[in-house]
């Protein structure tokens, strides 16, 4: 807007935001109104995150109920039906109401700030997408009291998160439980597609001057890729839900095996969504690692172009691997071979990423603040999760272990050990930016170490009952199987994780009021979000930033040695 007055030889200037801050006291009603009508990407991002955190606690409690039920043989804590509802709701909630919203929340908050924009490309669509997802979540949980009334667990879905046909057809699931599931996922799918369109348009159309596609932070690249994946994978899920609803309401025969319909087709449609969904969830975790690891290693990210290529590569390969969830359903040997090989192929771009993170840390000056601790934990656990993934991709091995606790342990290793750990890292890293206060490092260390111990107790040990033949989704087991002690260890680990979560939630609340003041740039970082005050004002930047390298704040802090001189 304002032309800089005197050029400096280095070519770098800063614009200091000196807008006077007027803090007027607003009533609770006014504050509430502000949040409801907001179209500001930061507030919507925080709404997403807060919404997801509530459901994280809810779904965590459901997981605890599952673990308590399995702690001893012949337990009567839950009956079979309630147990089915618990694991269905746990899975559905964690994927659709925790994972996606929390990642979209961070994306909403960070992507415009990182690319030097003032808002998303479609701010109103953004608000709409959030509220549809939020209402869908509330609707799904309304099933506990809806329909049959408050007694018992109502009509909560009990068909597992993949809801295989023909169990979901009217004759086998009368009542409304499957309807609640399908409708909630349909609505949240609409919200997800809206947000994905928004993020894509933002990344491509809202960049500040100088922010070319080869300079945007890797997180923005990752969110663009994830959004593309959401477009091509959530849409099939939405289409499949529509088919299911046509079957249930209009008497269609898509998945009606009595009239020639195919249960396998549902499995295909679900996993065409289901497997790329894992990458929708894990890629943002990679994005957080891409931002956090360099800052705490004091080195620029190693191999930026390779990272971008690997991200896009993962997205495309992930579209061709879905049937590795279906080896036991029965395919031709050609199909088995193809999906085994394509699944193994994913390990190449993910391996590139892992080595690039290691190369970033190599020779750097590491600072083990809490975000970095969680990132290092993520690196180890991600590699292990990937290795069991390669084991399961081998179809004969898969025939042996499919639907056993080995599989459960494998995907929780990804979802908790990799994704949740990076989400925690992101909280510790960006909480100062979002609230203006640091999270307590002491509590953070407690959180990390308890989480590590609890996680490994639970999910390392959980592999073994799987190898011993314990199937998933059973509500109880016989005492003579030799699974009892292992299950007790797993439950004990889950309790430790619950304690760690409680510390984390306490830390979030406590630090908001009593945390150390953060200042604009507490970590000495390099991307544009740290050039704004904490928390950023509604307008983000008083003038449009102009950048000339991948690390604009490095250039600003080191005009004697700017990155832009080497691009």
């Amino acid at each position: 807007m304002d032309a800089p007055s005197t050029p400096i030889p280095g070519g770098i200037e800063g614009a200091l935001d000196v807008t006077p801050q007027t803090r007027s006291r607003a009533t609770y009603l006014e504050v509430l109104h502000d949040w409801v009508v907001t179209v500001d990407h930061k507030k919507i991002g925080l709404l997403y995150i807060g919404f997801a955190l509530i459901f994280l606690v809810v779904a965590g409690l459901e997981a605890m109920a599952i673990r308590i039920q399995l702690a001893v043989p012949h337990n009567t804590f839950l009956d079979a039906r309630s147990y089915n509802r618990m694991f269905t709701m746990h899975g559905t909630t964690m994927v659709f109401l925790v994972g996606m919203p929390i990642l979209f929340g961070f994306g909403n908050y960070l992507v415009p700030l990182m690319i030097g924009a003032r808002d998303m490309a479609f701010p109103r669509l953004n608000a709409f997408s959030f509220w549809v997802s939020a209402f869908a979540g509330i609707f799904l949980y309304f099933s506990f009291i809806g329909g049959l009334g408050l007694a018992g667990t109502g009509t909560a879905p009990d068909v597992a998160w993949f809801a295989y046909a023909p169990l979901t057809e009217r004759p086998f699931s009368p009542g409304h439980n499957v309807d609640y599931w399908a409708l909630a996922l349909f609505a949240s799918g609409v919200g997800s597609i809206g947000t994905a369109i928004n993020i894509l348009a933002t990344v491509f159309c809202m960049r500040c001057p100088g922010m070319t596609l080869s300079r945007i932070p890797l997180l923005a690249w990752i969110y663009a890729t994830v959004s593309f994946l959401v477009l091509v994978t959530i849409s099939p899920l939405t289409a499949a839900q529509v088919m299911l609803l046509i079957d249930r309401y209009l008497g269609g025969h898509f998945f009606d095996t009595q009239a020639g319909g195919s249960a396998i087709l549902w499995a295909h449609f679900f996993w065409i969504f289901g497997h790329p969904e894992v990458y929708v969830l894990v890629l943002p975790a990679f994005g957080f690692a891409n931002e956090i690891i360099p800052v705490f290693s004091r080195k620029a990210i190693f191999g930026y172009p390779a990272m971008v290529a690997a991200t896009v590569g993962i997205a495309f390969i992930s579209l061709g691997v879905w049937a590795h969830h279906m080896f036991t359903i029965g395919m031709t040997s050609l199909g088995n071979t193809f999906f085994t090989l394509s699944t193994m192929l994913v390990s190449i771009p993910t391996g590139i990423k892992t080595f690039n993170w290691l190369a970033t840390m190599w020779g750097g000056k590491l600072r083990f603040a809490t975000p970095m601790l969680f990132s290092v934990g993520f690196l180890f656990q991600w590699v292990i999760a990937g290795l069991t993934g390669i084991m399961l991709s081998v179809s004969p091995w898969n025939w042996q272990l499919h639907n056993s606790y080995f599989v459960v342990a494998h995907f929780h290793y990804v979802l908790v050990g990799a994704i949740l750990f990076m989400i925690f890292a992101a909280f510790y890293y960006w909480y100062p930016k979002m609230t203006g206060r640091m999270l307590s490092e002491t509590l953070g260390k407690w959180h990390f170490w308890l989480m590590i111990v609890g996680f490994h107790l639970t999910f390392d040990v959980m592999h073994i009952p799987g190898l011993l033949g314990m199937p998933r989704q059973i509500y109880t087991y016989e005492p003579d199987r030799g699974w009892t002690l292992l299950n007790q260890i797993v439950t004990f680990g889950a309790v430790i994780q619950a304690v760690a979560m409680a510390i984390f939630v306490y830390n979030l609340v406590h630090s908001y009021f009593a945390g150390k003041l953060a200042g604009p740039d507490p970590w000495d970082a390099w991307t544009l979000e740290w050039s704004t005050p904490s928390p950023p004002p509604t307008y983000n930047f008083p003038v449009d930033p102009v950048v000339a390298s991948r690390r604009p704040l490095w250039d600003l802090k080191h005009p004697e040695d700017p990155d832009s001189a080497f691009e």
Binding site: V18, R118, F128, L183, P559, E560
Partner: protein
């Protein structure tokens, strides 16, 4: 917290004021979302909820429309900023020491990938000669090799006898040509892509190493891909034609020009490490030369 961070010295200038356009807050999105959800939810609840949802949907869609047309509603936020000059913080930047003696010595130039493709095409044609010689000597037929590659077990031609294999068959001929063409092109492409790894001896790579690896790989997986072909293949003549392929491809590649090879750059630069200073180092060295 940030012991390493030395904030740069700043000098303030005059204060600039301006306004920033931001989209105005609006309640229509949440109402539309509620309308959509009620409409969807009416399938498990009552028709009246659906009616309320439809009403909300229409009202808020119209409201939203009027919000963005003919002009998007904005709020203007006044902002002030001052331009500051940044003086170097003089915080010394630690560099990663690159010791060139223990780095891999990579060439500055390599053969282009197109050279590999050309080599692949040439090799693919020439390798027919030993294969055909084998076919002629052993079965006295020009078509045996072709049929074996293209027809047997592939296009619904189950378990043909060796007698059938010696006669011309159009389907098999076309399939064989496609397989041969696609494979040689792909192998040539792969060869071109691998050339930078071992650029000095293309004939050794192409003529010996690659055929050995390729034949070994095929020897192991052919039973899965095409069991019939595995039963009838003659591995020695197969390997011979692979070697011919590699030698010809390597020869074609090595004819594609003399490359500067001794001109070396540090590995870090070849790998794209974006550490400032490395590149400066390199240009100085170049100047000296």
């Amino acid at each position: 917290m940030n012991d390493m961070h030395t904030p740069p010295q700043t000098h303030s200038h005059e204060v600039h004021t301006g306004t920033v356009h931001l989209p105005a807050p609006t309640a229509w999105p949440i109402l539309l979302a509620l309308g959509v959800m009620l409409l969807v939810g009416s399938l498990v609840m009552s028709v009246w909820i659906g009616a309320l949802g439809a009403f909300l949907l229409v009202v808020s869609a119209v409201g939203w429309f009027r919000e963005v047309l003919p002009h998007e509603k904005h709020v203007d936020v006044p902002v002030q900023h001052e331009i500051v000059e940044i003086e170097p913080s003089r915080a010394g930047v630690a560099r990663i020491e690159v010791d060139e003696t223990h780095r891999a010595q990579l060439p500055l130039q390599t053969f282009p990938i197109s050279a590999g493709i050309k080599g692949g095409i040439a090799g693919g044609i020439v390798m027919l000669i030993p294969a055909e010689i084998y076919g002629l000597l052993r079965y006295h037929s020009l078509w045996y090799v072709v049929n074996l590659l293209g027809g047997a077990g592939v296009a619904g031609w189950a378990n043909p006898t060796p007698e059938q294999l010696t006669h011309f068959r159009l389907g098999a001929f076309i399939t064989a040509n496609i397989i041969q063409g696609a494979t040689t092109l792909l192998v040539g492409l792969l060869y071109g892509a691998l050339l930078p790894v071992w650029p000095r001896r293309p004939i050794l790579l192409g003529g010996i190493v690659a055929p050995v690896l390729w034949t070994g790989l095929l020897h192991n997986v052919l039973g899965i891909v095409n069991p019939y072909l595995q039963q009838n293949i003659d591995w020695w003549s197969f390997a011979a034609s692979q070697v011919v392929f590699g030698l010809v491809a390597g020869y074609v590649v090595s004819r594609s020009g003399n490359l500067q090879r001794l001109h070396q750059a540090p590995l870090a630069i070849r790998l794209g490490v974006e550490s400032p200073g490395l590149e400066g180092h390199k240009t100085e060295e170049d100047d000296r030369r």
